[in-house]
């Protein structure tokens, strides 16, 4: 299973703070997960298709092409606004 977290505006727009999905060999990168979710259409397509989307893998910022493995934790979120 891959754990996926959504934060801030994404969580509100998607109506979910997170979920688990079954990992399989066709899911190789963070972008593969993103595309899988985009296929749901609607808000998923709109939100996760944003150009300013940021992502993290196992609690570290990553690029969309970051390779993932089973039991990894991923997060998708809007541009950060701390400080």
């Amino acid at each position: 299973m891959i754990l996926i977290n959504y934060f801030a505006r994404y969580r509100e727009q998607l109506g979910s703070g997170g979920e688990k999905i079954v990992h399989n060999t066709s899911i190789r990168t963070v972008d593969d997960v993103r595309n899988l979710l985009i296929e749901r259409g609607g808000a998923w397509k709109e939100v996760l298709g944003e150009a300013s989307l940021m992502c993290a893998l196992n609690q570290e910022l990553c690029k969309l092409d970051a390779p993932i493995e089973d039991f990894d934790e991923i997060a998708f979120f809007p541009q950060v606004t701390g400080g």
Binding site: R9, Q59, K63, A75, Q79, G82, G83
Partner: protein
């Protein structure tokens, strides 16, 4: 000294500043920054702010940024304290403090820490007022500021 703290409670600017030198007589320079919640609505539509964060990743991200700064400049003590949760206009949100032998390292590192924190640490601000809530958007100027240090995407 624990370099990084994420907390809901208010912090003492004086105490945090004092501890950066605190009897380390090899420290010749201390530079600090405090970020505050601005009153965007000028009192008309009383607003408050909520700081969301990614528990676990937040501390790790800030520590990462501190480690980067320590590799890049000859620093002594470094401290970042960032508040999360509900805040009001005028509340301090973040404290960044740096100590070094001489001032150039502290000035530059303090600036670096803030510029990178603004673009990479997982916090999100939401403004709440009587008409509703609005998530704050990231600023182009913050991206530009971070880029001048040579920090690229992830």
């Amino acid at each position: 000294m624990v370099s990084v703290q994420v907390q809901t409670e208010a912090f003492s600017i004086d105490e945090l500043t004092r501890r950066l030198h605190d009897e380390d007589n090899t420290t010749g320079a201390v530079v600090t920054f405090v970020g505050y919640v601005r009153d965007i609505n000028l009192g008309k539509n009383v607003s408050s702010m909520f700081l969301e964060h990614y528990p676990g990743m937040t501390e790790r991200s800030l520590q990462n940024i501190v480690d980067h700064a320590k590799q890049r400049w000859p620093l002594k003590r470094v401290k970042i304290v960032h508040r999360v949760g509900p805040l009001k206009a005028g509340d301090p949100i973040v404290f960044v403090g740096v100590a070094s032998g001489h001032r150039q390292a502290s000035f530059e590192a303090c600036s670096f820490l803030m510029d990178v924190l603004k673009t990479r640490a997982p916090f999100w601000k939401r403004e709440d007022n009587q008409s509703g809530s609005q998530w704050v958007d990231g600023r182009e100027s913050d991206q530009v500021a971070a880029q001048r240090w040579g920090i690229t995407e992830a």
